[in-house]
Subunit: 124 residues, 2 copies
Amino acid sequence: MRTLLLVAHGSRRAASNDEVRHLVERLTARTNGRFDHVGFGFLELCEPALATAIDAAVAKGARDITLVPYFLAAGTHVANDIPEVVEDRRQAHPGVRFRVTPHLGAAASLVDILLDLSNPRVEH
Amino acid sequence: MRTLLLVAHGSRRAASNDEVRHLVERLTARTNGRFDHVGFGFLELCEPALATAIDAAVAKGARDITLVPYFLAAGTHVANDIPEVVEDRRQAHPGVRFRVTPHLGAAASLVDILLDLSNPRVEH
């Protein structure tokens, strides 16, 4: 079973965490069968914590977990915190394959989104 | 003169602020004449401050300024801080047209970027 986990920072504002949940709903509707399940985990301030989200996915049958860091900058969270949690859970679940993708801010196509946003003729 | 300003949070990490500057360079190369100038301003921790960036753009001849909030969540920065700075500068520069676009996290196409990131067959 293949699982996609969106990894977000987590916020004190419930509305910001809800934005992540809505994004995960839209991702779920668009995976076209590449993933059997889409979930999410937070690093701080909000549940589920990333480790809990990984454990829950494995309990559901995940054997291949792709983690996408929902971060704009390659700061400490992306460079250290996420890899540390993943390495720890990798040792706890030796039969599971883990892959961490580049963080959102590293995606070349961000430029296109920003230009679309700046264009009043494009609907957002 | 039409100016695009990317509005970022600003970080203590120089590398994160450099990521914003590199993004602005890539934006500059891709505007296809829609903007005469692309700049950036930060809300915290890093120069130039947004108000300074706006004033500098106006001093260069900007008469139409589009601001794109480079934020994932519609938190206080997006909801209050950016509009407050823009309103203040709007009063200081009555001949200049200002437009603030939706923040990055509101862009529907973020879903496509995240799915591309999750796909090992797509180059990032």
